[in-house]
Amino acid sequence: MFSKGTAWLIDSARTSVGLLLALAAVFKLPQLLTGAISPSWWVLVGVELGLGTWLVLGVAVVCASALAAMLFTAFSLINAFFLWHQVPRCACLGLLPASPAWMLPIDLAALAFSLLALAAQLPRRSTLLLGRKT
């Protein structure tokens, strides 16, 4: 479906999305440990760190990409809502200052990359499992 160069670009994009998730989780840790944000954020940090590592490792990419696309759809919706309500800052990147106006395009790009990674993996998997392209 994709040329070798395009496939490499898609793999790089998937790795970048994974690193972004993992870094966002790491930058939230100091705030969690000092009690600056609610302990319920541990769930999000766990999901971000786990999924980020999974994407970087490149194992079972179909599942990882689908979950990443789901997560970034939710993030995009939330940031669009914040932007609409003129919320100046979000805790998206933990310690790093971030605003919904910056994070919304980043989330949408990550969503597009995740869907692209999913599209790139689906035909290959079918070929492997069924021995022919579907």
Partner: protein, 70 residues
């Protein structure tokens, strides 16, 4: 291609549902009527200028209108 579109639509729907549920759970309750907040004794410097500090533990922004010191 058809399978990808199906999965993509399901993923987008699930993500939207998750984001919507988060917003529904955390959206602030809109207060109606005059809300009075007891801030303690008036600080001496309040006559001209003072700083009110709120600990805002979520994304919610706080709008302050018509502050009176009694």
């Amino acid at each position: 291609m058809k399978r990808f579109v199906t999965i993509a639509v399901l993923v987008l729907l699930a993500g939207s549902a998750a984001g919507g549920a988060y917003l529904w759970a955390t959206v602030p309750v809109k207060l109606s009527g005059p809300d009075q907040v007891q801030l303690g004794p008036r600080p001496p410097e309040a006559r001209f200028q003072t700083t009110l500090t709120f600990r805002n533990d979520s994304w919610r922004s706080v709008r302050i209108e018509d502050v009176y010191f009694c």
